[in-house]
Structure formats: structure tokens, C-alpha cells
Symmetry: D3
Subunit: 239 residues, 6 copies
């Protein structure tokens, strides 16, 4: 099965926090999405083992995405060749045009491991001749696939971004994002006003208000942006 885009993040809930509004917006426009979490997020703060996975599955469903949880250990996630190959194989199988990953993370070591891991997986996915690479044989029975773009949503536990590549208006799908995040009662004190949830919404509201919108999510890009022409950009508050 083909997916139009992947979101690869460290833990179940990271994809939602970083870009839940954009995921829902794209899936409602007919794009097929796969969320890949590098671990199952255990142990969770407020629930026994297994609950967070169920919440993650429901959250993905709310956003219209499929979800896959890989088997790295929460808190000990690293950029290693085995996981690079696993993700590369998923890319070759599902042939997404876009991938979203985490960048510039310095607070949580799991987040910090994602960028180089996914950049490597993206690069591996497009290479040929894996049958001739000792240790790389798991890619040998899939065809090379080159994605079109790799983007990075903001990881909201990290310092705020003043400078980003682009923002996406997520005002319409923001209720879905909040609904998805509300599933994670293993993580957030949803009903009592969790400090982190308040930070996340405050950032999305601030980014939105920069454009006169209710909510926006912001993204960086390693490679420069290319457009057909500048009319694809929506209005900013003062130009």
C-alpha cells in the first residue's frame, strides 16, 4: 500500500503535538498518512503498560492516519543502522512523497536521535545494490524510492523558533488535534490543565496569530524550498 506521507517521531504523541493539525488537514484532503513512532512510549507516567499504545492508535484514527510503533526503548532511542534500515524499508514499501521528522532537539535525548536517523533512512531508501552491502541485505528485495521532500515540524519541548521555513494554517482541524491529544491520559493531566498541553496550544495560537489565524503549525526544511511561483504563499499580516 502506498502512503502519501510519513511522520516519524520518537514517541507516541510527538507526531500529534508537533503537527496534528497538519496531519488532519492533509488526510481530510485525501492524502494517506502513516505515523511511525520509534518506540511504544513505555513506561508512561499515568497508566500501566499497553495503554499508551491503545491511546496512540485512537489518536491516529482521529487524525485519519495509520500508525506503526517500532521497537526501540523509550529513553534510549539512538540513531543506529538497524533502525535506519527498518525505516528505509518502510519508505521503499510505501513510497511516500513527503516525510516529516524531528530536528534541533536538545532537551530529550530520544528526540535528538531522530534527525540523523531519518535523514539516513531517506538516503538509504534511494540507493541501489543493497544485495552487495554486508549488513544491508534487508533492503535488497525492495526497489529504490526517492522521496520529494523532508520537512521538520517544531518539537515543542525545545526552544521556540523565531525563524522557520513555513507555517500551515490549521485553524479548521485544530479541534481534531486537541481531541487526539486528549486521548493521551497516560501522559497528560488532560482534565486538570496539563502544563505541557498549555504550552503546546499557546505556541500553535501564537504562530497562527502571526498570520491573523487561530492556529498554525510551523516547519523547517534542510533543503531549500522550491515553488512553481510565489503566488502559492498566503497573506501575512503586514505583507
Amino acid at each position: 500500500m502506498r502512503y502519501d506521507f510519513f511522520i516519524v517521531a520518537a514517541h507516541p504523541d510527538d507526531a500529534e503535538v508537533q503537527m496534528g493539525g497538519t496531519i488532519a488537514k492533509l488526510t481530510r484532503a485525501g492524502q494517506r498518512a502513516l505515523i511511525i513512532d520509534l518506540c511504544d512510549g513505555e513506561p508512561a507516567d499515568y497508566a500501566p503498560a499497553g495503554v499508551r499504545r491503545q491511546q496512540a492508535m485512537r489518536a491516529a484514527q482521529i487524525l485519519g492516519a495509520d500508525r506503526l510503533l517500532l521497537d526501540q526503548q523509550d529513553r534510549f532511542i539512538t540513531d543506529n543502522i538497524s533502525t535506519r534500515l527498518t525505516v528505509a524499508r518502510l519508505i521503499r514499501q510505501h513510497r511516500p512523497r513527503m516525510i516529516f521528522a524531528t530536528t534541533e532537539a536538545c532537551i530529550h535525548p530520544d528526540h535528538a536521535a531522530v534527525k540523523s536517523l531519518i535523514a539516513a533512512a531517506v538516503f538509504y531508501a534511494r540507493l541501489k545494490n543493497w544485495n552487495r552491502v554486508p549488513g544491508g541485505e534487508s533492503l535488497a528485495d525492495t526497489e529504490p524510492w526517492e522521496i520529494q521532500r523532508l520537512f521538520y515540524p517544531h518539537c515543542k519541548m525545545e526552544p521556540a523558533w523565531g525563524d522557520f521555513a513555513f507555517a500551515v494554517d490549521v485553524s479548521e482541524t485544530y479541534p481534531l488535534k486537541k481531541q487526539a491529544l486528549a486521548e493521551y491520559k497516560s501522559l497528560f493531566q488532560v482534565d486538570e490543565g496539563d502544563q505541557l498541553l498549555e504550552l503546546y496550544e499557546a505556541e500553535d495560537a501564537h504562530m497562527g496569530r502571526l498570520f491573523g489565524l487561530a492556529y498554525a503549525e510551523v516547519f523547517k526544511s534542510h533543503s531549500p524550498l522550491l515553488v512553481t511561483d510565489p503566488t502559492v504563499f498566503l497573506p501575512a499580516l503586514h505583507g
Copy 2:
């Protein structure tokens, strides 16, 4: 009369928007504040001439500050020697320890003129021998005064700052800031939800949430920061 600090901004309402919470916090701690607006803000969008000045005076009172409106023309504010001397003379007369001004403004030309103007005024204020400078005689009958620090609050019409020198917790005085801004019915559609007021509050809330607080205002500094020791800094969310 001595003031402990000046806030110099282009128009009546800029000081409030940029750092109303910090002004109120400092004045409630006993510091004497003078807001200097470079013009009277006429013409205002929603009121006849003169109303904005009255609103500005009430807003300053709410924040516990005195206020002075200079006579540059709104929309045509420039960095010129005459205004440099006027502000320098005020500095020498009132001997503030801190001055707050506007920096990095590119949207509104009036805001863009403030930084070099105030930096020059600060420098002029500390120089001797103005009686020997043709055109600088207006400073000759005042004594040199060297301020301790020049800081720059964020001008919220300009792009967001990801990187700033420091933030001030203004959660307690934020109601005063909102009350002061609500005075400016010549400028904002206060009762119907003005787009700019929403942006301003969204930014202050986001900056606050970065520290687990309700509201914070952020500042840059041209010169580096010096502290007695690092224990003066309050906790951040994850260190």
C-alpha cells in the same frame, strides 16, 4: 525629578504593547517610570484628534508611569539630531538607570527609526563639553549621565523572536497591561476582538508558557548581560 527607567517608543500604545506587564511590575516595586512617545499618534483610526493622548495618559496611570509625548509626526518619525538632543536632555535631567527602546523593526518605518535614535541619545547624554559643539548647546546646562543598561522589548508587529536575551514573568501584572491596552479605543476594536490585540496576547502567553507561566515579556540587549552570579535566573521548564 529622577526616574528609575525610561521607555521610549514611537507611538502612544507601543510601550504598553511591548512591555506593559514589566512596567507595572517595576512601578509596583517602587521604581519610577517615564514613558516617552516620539509622537502623539495622530491621526488615530477611530477617534478625533486629541483622544489618543488622553487614552495614553490614562494607560500610563494604570501602569503607574508618567508619560511625555514628543512632537514628531506619526508616520514620518526619523532619527534626527534634534530629537537625539531632546531625549539626551531628558536623560540628563531625569537620570534613569535603565532605558527601554525598540529594535529590529522593519514593518513600520516609525519603529525602525527608534533604535539608532535612542542609542545616540544615550551616548550623547554621557558626553561632556556640549557648550563647545555647534548645534549641541541645548545639552550644555545639564550634567553628563551614563545609564546602566539599554534593553529592547519585542515590537509585536515584527516577526516573532525565537532568540532573546531574557524574559520577565508578568503573570501578576498582566491584568493591568490588558486594562491599559483597553484604553486605546482610538486604535483597537477592543470590544469586538481586535486582530492585533489577539496577536499581542498570544505572544505574551506563548512566551510565558515556555517557562510554565501565564505570561512573559521578552527583551533583547545590544551589550552583553552581566550578573552577580547565575542564581539570579529563575527556573526554565526543562532546565
Copy 3:
């Protein structure tokens, strides 16, 4: 008459050099363009007075744009209130959605004056009540107009940009750009291989090759970019 976009540059030929391919691409897609040069470019190196204006008119025609030459003096262009008002009036009359101007110029003083001048004109254009502003009466009989976006093409006499907001594929219209530039025989030694023309083409070719294209032109933006969703971006070489 309405124009869809303006290009404001210091001299006749700057608009072509900076973004001739993008102008032609937009006009061929039906957008109406007005090039505004702040001066007539006299004296030109290789022709008597008046020739450069004729060349500029032909070059604009090749790109499908109208052209207006203002009356500042080449070499002495400044950001002044009179020219701000002139450009603001043109904005209010022709109501463009996008404006392109020059930024980050340090080599040629005329280029350096453009950014603040046009930012001010854009801001003036959206303000009301000019009849109540002494010196601003020339805007009083036009209606406020707020543009959607202000972008900055690269001024190729200035240092190269490693970091820019976005690029536009101009491979198809590049022959028109070269044809337009070839008109300027008052400026470039077109037939003998002018050093500057070679620099300009080398930059466009390099920017294009970053995306596997023949030619691209690159742009910065003061305000952040907003898009409907990230699928508007075209592929980069390695994602």
C-alpha cells in the same frame, strides 16, 4: 488599472537581473506586472542619455510587464518621504497583491536604499486618514490597500545567498530573461561577454542545479511564509 504585482528596483535592469525569469513566468500565466524603477539609470556607461530608458521599455515588453521610471537621481537614491508617498500612491491606485523589492544590499548605495523605502510605502498604503497628516495629503484621495506579500529577490551584485526563503523554477522563461538583459547594451558588453552578465547567469544556473533544474531565481521574505499545506513545495534533489 489593477496590477497583480509590482517589482520595485533602483535602476532599469535591476528587476530583470534579479527576477526576470519569474516576471515572465507570472505574466505568461496571466498576471499583470508593473516594474517601477526609482530612477532612469542615467548616465549609462555606453550610451547617450535616453537610450537606457528605451532599452528598459523594450526589456519590460519582452517580459510582458509595464514599466514606470521615477525621478530619483541614479547614484543618489535615498529613502525619503516624498518617494515613499509616490510609491504608496501607486500601490493604492493599482492594488497589487505582491510586491518585490531589494534587500540586504551593501555594495551599491542605491540598492541599499530600496528596502526601507518600499517597506514604508507598503505600510503607508494601508493607512487611513492621510488628509489629517501634514505632508501626506497626496494619499488622501486614494483608498487604503493592503498587499498580501512582500518578497525580496537576490541582488546579484551582493554576496551570494546560501540561505533563502524559496526558489522559483525559471528554466522555461530563461530565454526571455536573457533576451531582456541583452537589450541593455548601454550597460553591458553583451556581445563580448560581460563579466556581470556571466555572474548573473552563473548564479541562476547554480540555484537551478540545486533542484536539478536549468535555472532558478531565489527570494527572501521579511515575514514568515504561510501555505495551505506542504504539498505546494516541489521536489528537492535529495529531499
Copy 4:
């Protein structure tokens, strides 16, 4: 026993070089300090095994700090999970409010390993449920602890910093810093004028002179700074 702050550095002498003056200033104000070196610094250039450890202990005593040497191998220091857990356990046991570590190091690979290692240890220290993390059991019998601030002194073998978060006036305790460094005769040719010692003092003197002081030490911060109000900042030379 509680410590008020930790300094974690690669080798014995790094803590002194980077922030010896600040350590002494804080301990003389009654704060309890623990210096943690990731290795014992063997082999040293000018002494047999074991001497450097003794020198380090005397240097710490001069600065009023306790000291702990971990067992990584000098020259081969890495960010690994075992050391993350060791440092996290020390944080949970001793509950410091501040931690100082090394950042932006590119010359010495040992220094380069510190930043991500300590950021991870700080994050691990605040997490719950380590009994449910395979491989993380060593933290299970200690309570979570969240530090208030993580700061980074300048590693003086690395390029100079023009931009830093804040400086600390260490003029008064600088003799103690020099006395502590003079202990390291296994490392520096103290009596003949060691090139590195001269660099270290020249940097501290330059940073001090920026504020009209004899000596200052400078620090960066990953998270933004928060203060009660801007009056905590001491005067700069020209504001």
C-alpha cells in the same frame, strides 16, 4: 547530602579553566558545589599516574568544592547510556538546582561528548518509573529530581564567543582560580608561562574588560533566561 550545583566536565582542570572564578564566588556565598570529571585525566603530560587526581582534589578544595572523578577513559569519552545513568543518579541523590556542562566543543572529542551526555542525564533525572525500563534499573531506588537551570561555561580551547547569554564578574575570586590552576603541574608548565594558561587568562581579562572589570567568565544557555525583572543585570560599559 545536597549540593546546590554541579559542574560536569570531561577532565580534571576543565571545570577550573571554564568557571573557576564563578565556582569560588558561589561557594564563598555558601553554595555547596560538586565538580564531576568524567575521567581521571590519565595519562597526564608531565606526571606519573595518580598525580593529576591529587592535584584535582587540591584544586577543588581551593575553590571550596567537592570533587568526584568518574571512570571513563581520557581521550575516549563518549555519550553513552551507562554514564548518563550514573550522572542522573548523582543528580537524584544530591538534588542540585543548577548544573554547568560543556557545549559547542569541536576541537577535543572528549569535550564534544559532554553536552548531549549531560542534557540526557538531566532529563533522565526527572523521569519516573525507571523500574519499568530494562537497563535503567539503577535509577529505580532514587526519587525524580528536576534541576532549575543548565548553563554552559565557555570551553577555552574552542573558538572565542562573541555572543553569550551572560557574564559573571569574577574579579574578586580570580586569585583563587589562578591558584587552583597552578596546582595542575601535571598539565601546564605553570612556572615557565604555559601557552594555554596565557590564553585562558587573556580571555577572562577580555571578557571582564567588556564591563570595565578585571575578570569575567561567560556562559551560554540552551533554554531562554527568565528573571524577576531587568534590574538584576549589572551595568555594561556603554549601556
Copy 5:
């Protein structure tokens, strides 16, 4: 045998792409060069095993350099202590004054591993007492050697550099660079116009045209540049 400089790169062809013109320029001036590739570049896209090595040897010969291929596995190159020691040993044996390596690479994981690996090798090479370091004995029978400068050519698969430390005019030796690259028919579709080869030449031409030259190669430096006096710098287009 002494070499005057090393170029250390991930794969056979990287050294040529990044700085083939500079290598040829230096060797023609009598400097002895050694290219060290961290792997043999297998599997290559368009040739059976072993061909790329032969091409690499011929390419080095064209540039006047010797070449050594280390035994890491292409696609899986890492910064590890064993390779650090191998390169450090080569530095101590051949005593180069300059080393060139790869920096700021984010697209290809092999390139990304080079910077910290070579910085560590450079540092190891200057240290004494390796006989007392468990695991470092392979350096014990060579004398310490301190290089003079470590520079980084641009890795052209990565984003363009607007800002670099210096450029080298390679117009005269560019035919040799192209001839060397043309050897790599295992990698590039040389005769049909390979997209990457076109990117590489477009970048070198653009960098050259910034100075009015046919071709230039650009470099960064971790440590600041020191010169006898500023007359060593060649003219720029507009100063």
C-alpha cells in the same frame, strides 16, 4: 614519507568533487598530497566491485596526489575510535601541515560522520603517552605531530554556502578536475550529462564568477584565520 597535506573524505570521488581544482593547484606548486577515502565506495552504481578503486587511483594521479582507501563500509561509515586512531597514525607518519575534511553534512550519513572523526584524529595525533592509554597503543610507536590548519571544502550534495571562510581560484586547474571526475564512470553518467556533475560544475562556476573568475572552490574553517597581513587576499569584484 612526508605529505604536505591530506584530504580525508568519505568515498572515492568526494575529494575530487569538493576540491579537485585546489588539489591540482597545490600539487603543481610542488606540494605532496595524500587523499584518504574512508571506504572503497562499493557497491558502485554502474560497475562491478573493484572498478571504482581503479578509477579513484587514476583520478588521484591526474590531480598529482597519492591515494589510500580505508576499510570502512560505504553507507555505514561512523566516527569510531579505531578509525580515529588509524587516521591519527597516518598523520603522525606523514606529518602534513594541512588537512582537509568534510563538515556540515546532513544528507548523506557517511559525509556526516567525517567531521568529528577527523577532528578527533587531528587531536589524537598531537598527544603524547599513548602507551599509557588502554586501546590506544597503536599510536605509541609514532611521534606526536601537530598540523597547522584544518579546513573544510564544501560538500556539494549539501545546501549551498552563502558564507564561507575563503575561496581558491581554480580556473587553471579546472580541466584536470573535470578529467579526474570523468574517470568515475562507475558513478556518474559522464557522457550523457549527469545531473550531479552539472550541479558540481555550476557551483564552482558560480563561486568563481563572484570574483570574476571562471571557477573557484570554497572552504570553511573551524578555527579563525590568521594571516601575515591583509595583502594576501586577492581582489573581489566590488572590493
Copy 6:
């Protein structure tokens, strides 16, 4: 008469402070230097009118340079067309290969005016046809001249530079720099230890120690640096 290089600065003493060691080094190597001060530095703090000019002349002589004082008013220096033309005329008359000016100044408004002023003068100097430019006739009787490089020494009243283009070893000529500065008793309390003189020397010592030298002066460049080959660079402390 031809000069090999100009130093253009705001006040008498700025050239010495910023790059006195480099001036002396170049003149002792046979290069002819002209220092151009934009004003005469009156009023000086500690001397009657006219003394500073005499001190400036003696200081220039110590450094082996000629000196010219222009007639702008200290404290009110601006970038204006008349002074641009004056400096451009000097460039055309004396045909220097290098010019040094002041950049990135924000503390002293006079310093802040220099960069755009000199960049414009450099550009004017190379243009033809000034007889056809109303107001530019003063350049009509001199031939165009294009300098080779424009560099910017650090203005030591401004924030320290962590990042600069290159440093010059001035250890040998530093006594001449100190001797030249000691002339300025109208400005500095030379004998009692002036705070600013101490800052200036501390910076030069720190910059020197970065390379294991006694003193160095540092420079930025607007245009990128070009060298024949990388061997022109002297050793750094750790490569």
C-alpha cells in the same frame, strides 16, 4: 601621490585603536598609508581645541602613516552625499588597493555612519561619467579607480566579535600601537590606567592568544575572501 591603503574612521584615535598594529606592520613593509578621520574630534575631553589634531598627527607619524582630517562635526557625523564624494575623490586621486573602514557599530552614532558612507564612496570611485550627474561634478576631473578590497577592523567600543574573517599578528608592532595611543592624552587618562585603553589591549591580547601570539587585530569583510591557495594561512593553536 599614490597610497597603498586608506584607513577611514570617524575620529582621530579610532584608526589607531582598531588597527594600529596592522598599520605599522604594513608601513614597515613599505606600504604607504593614509588615515582619513571624518572629523577633528573636537571637543576633546581633556584638552583645548586643536590639541587632539596635533596628537593625531604625531600618532600617525609613529605608525608611519599620513593623516587627513575631514570637516564633519564630531557627534553629528552622517552618511551624506557630499562626504561620499569627498572620500571618492580621495580614492580616485590616491588609488589605494585596500580600504579599511568601520562596521557593525551601534554604540556611538558617529561610528555607525561610517560603513554605508565608505561603501558608497568606494562605489562612486569606480563609476564613470560624473560630468553627467547633477551634484556629482566634483568627481568629473578624476579617473575612475576600483579598489581591490574593503575590510573592517573591529571597533572596540562595540560588542566583542566571536566570528571574524581573519586576524593579523601584530605582536612585533604592538609597542608602536601603544606609543601612538599614548599620544592621545586629550582623550585617555594614559598615565592613570584608562578603562578604555585597558579594554583595547585586553581584546588585542585575547585575539593574539587564540593563535599563541602576544597580540592580534581582527577584521571582517563584506565580500568573501579569495586566496591563491590555502597555504597563505598561518597556524592556529589546534589547527
